[in-house]
Amino acid sequence: MTDPAAPLIEGLGDITGLSMAGPDGGEVQVIASGWKLALREFFDNKLAVLGLAVIVLFVLFCFIGPLIHPSNQSLVNPLNSDQAPGGGHALGTDENGFDELGRIMLGGQTALEIGFFSAAIATVIGTLWGAIAGLAGGIVDGIMMRIVDILLSIPLLFIVLVLATKYSGTVFKLSLLIGLWAWTIPSRLVRGEVLTLRERDFISAARVMGATRRRIVLRHLIPNALSVVIVNVTFQVADAILILAYIGFLGFGLQFPATSWGDMLGGAQNYVTEGYWWLVYPVGGCLVALVLATNLVGDALRDAFDVRLRRRQPGPRRCLLCSRSTTSRLRSSCRGPPSRRSVTSASASTPTRPSGWSGSRAAASRCSGSRSSACCPTAVTSSRARSSSAAASSSDCRRPSCGDCAATRWL
């Protein structure tokens, strides 16, 4: 830790066979399990913590809020309709005379419930489907993945809306409706993960050591594929909340007097024309804030689980090029490749880690400023990884950009 050139020297030692001190790339101290490392990485990310805090706040607001701020949400009161904020109604009342603040809490409950429940359905189905396809291989895999291809090419919002004309109205039905059409993305991700994991050395090692098939699946495959699943759950939640908002806005959401944020915005064109701003912007703001927070958490989780991006030990990291130590809080002194810009202007110094999600997402965000292979060893693999596949495997992909799984938005 003291000698800045230590990793390089160790690396040289490995090549020349002089030293067996450790694997190339530096000393590896096993100090915690992968999960703990990922958790620490996650909580290092300020935006992620903010996102998580916002989600927790929304859960408290929507589920505990009605206990603190009880309001009538079942008896229509036309005499009290469309009141501006004030006089006992912090956010005014809607056209049925319901207290808008209480209504937002109620709508938030359903948004959260449907978001998490449909994400759970989609994840369970998708994980099983993808794992079975990946493990079975051959013709079973081919047929199962063609079914996924077919389902993926049907625009999600449209098919859900068509079915919502008959099967809608309750939290359970809507969750089922969204979940049953949204499992294709996780299934592709899990299949891809299983396919790569199957060929990895540690699986072969386990097999050679005589592990049973069951042990390999339960102890090695599933825990390793789980990170992909967990990351995807957050995006599933965000997308389900958005889809629910679209369905509600078009008028096919929950049965009155139950409501969701989308349902509440159903008459928003009129509210805007009439000047009832309190019926539009608080709800819309909550919707955007919750989806944004969920996306932030998802992005941070993906970075945290990406082993290639992970610090191997706590404390200062060092640049492989200049061997200077950095800390996650400070801007790095690594300037990347000597480009014209960095020579002429000192301000072009690139931080090892951009604050939050602004950097390249899927890969090499440690050194996203320059993305040079000299500065950041992960940059090479990430840019090479996407060669033959014509999929949009840009490193800024919102979901882990598996070369096989091109779809990144699936409304």
Binding site: L157, F158, L161, T165, V272, V288
Partner: protein
């Protein structure tokens, strides 16, 4: 290359056949017979049965499926008994206006997103970069109708620059084109959603390319920064955009539905919305299948276009 195209085409045909099977099953499940639409909701079972027999709705499902496929091949999407018009005529009537709205929004989003992404990559980790990245992320998390509502509030109602809804006098795509003020808000709303995702990809693609040797070489040759960016970086950084545009078709269709509903602009989206209210399943599922075919085609064309544009892509 030819082999690859043939194989991709074959896959696409299989996928479309699968989609048709699913849509047929749904149609059969949701609306087994249009007899009640024709004869009235209180029609006698005997009358319904004879109507079914007359129009072939009593045949085995598999036989009906093949006649459905045969109709699809002839671009016959069935008949809308609610609107008393064939679905293909309805689609043909509305497609032009929707295509104009969607196409204009797509072009606008590319015109904004490509330079924006390059600018962000060049000025990475500066205030401008962070500002636009934050803005993009908020836009990305925002339902399109909410953005539309905000635009209506400020640009239409408060400042009165644009009309809040599209005027009824706009009846064709050409009229929409010649009355740009009418369609500005819908186009901007639809474009903004795509700008958010496009510019994120563009930024990272430009970042990838900026670190490459050919950029360093171009600079070493003494080219001006403008020439490096516009002649060398732009073309290479835009390659992923081809795929992205191909993949954005479902998003565009969904955005199209919401924007047309919000601004009351008669197109395929509004047709779909009306059909939702009427429970007009022939129209609904016809549009779903058109959307699925467009999605498959978009992926196919994007894949081939990338292969044609990027010599590094090896197809085998």
């Amino acid at each position: 290359m030819t082999g690859y195209i043939i194989r991709r085409l074959a896959t696409a045909v299989i996928v479309v056949l699968g989609v048709a099977a699913i849509i047929f099953a749904l149609l059969h499940w949701l609306a087994p017979t249009p007899a009640y639409d024709v004869l009235g909701a209180k029609a006698q079972p005997a009358a319904v049965a004879s109507w079914d027999k007359l129009h072939g709705y009593d045949r085995p499902e598999i036989e009906q499926f093949f006649s459905y496929l045969n109709k699809l091949l002839h671009l016959n999407f069935g008949y809308s008994y609610k609107l008393d018009q064939s679905v293909s005529a309805l689609i043909k009537e509305n497609a032009g206006r929707s295509a104009y709205l969607t196409g204009a929004a797509l072009v606008l989003s590319l015109i904004i997103a490509i330079p924006l992404g390059i600018m962000q990559a060049v000025r990475r980790n500066t205030i401008e970069d962070y500002t636009f990245t934050t803005l993009n992320f908020v836009l990305y998390s925002m339902p399109s109708f909410f953005l539309g509502l905000i635009l209506i509030q400020f640009l239409a109602l408060d400042w009165g620059i644009f009309p809040p809804t599209v005027s009824d006098s706009i009846t064709s795509a050409w009229q929409a084109f010649t009355h740009p003020m009418q369609l500005t808000l819908p186009i901007v709303t639809l474009a903004a959603i795509n700008v958010a995702s496009f510019s994120r990809y563009m930024r990272s693609s430009a970042l990838d390319n900026l670190a490459q040797d050919y950029i360093r070489l171009a600079r070493a040759k003494g080219l001006s920064e403008r020439a490096v960016l516009s002649r060398h970086l732009l073309r290479n950084a835009c390659l992923p955009m081809i795929t992205l545009v191909g993949l954005s078709i479902p998003t565009l269709l969904a955005g199209n539905l919401l924007t047309e509903y919000l601004f009351n602009y008669p197109g395929l989206g509004l047709l779909f919305y009306t059909a939702l209210g009427n429970l007009d399943y022939n129209v609904l599922l016809a549009y779903v299948i058109v959307g699925a075919i467009l999605t498959v085609l978009g992926n196919l064309i994007a894949d081939i276009a990338v292969a044609a544009a990027d010599p590094r892509v090896r197809l085998d």
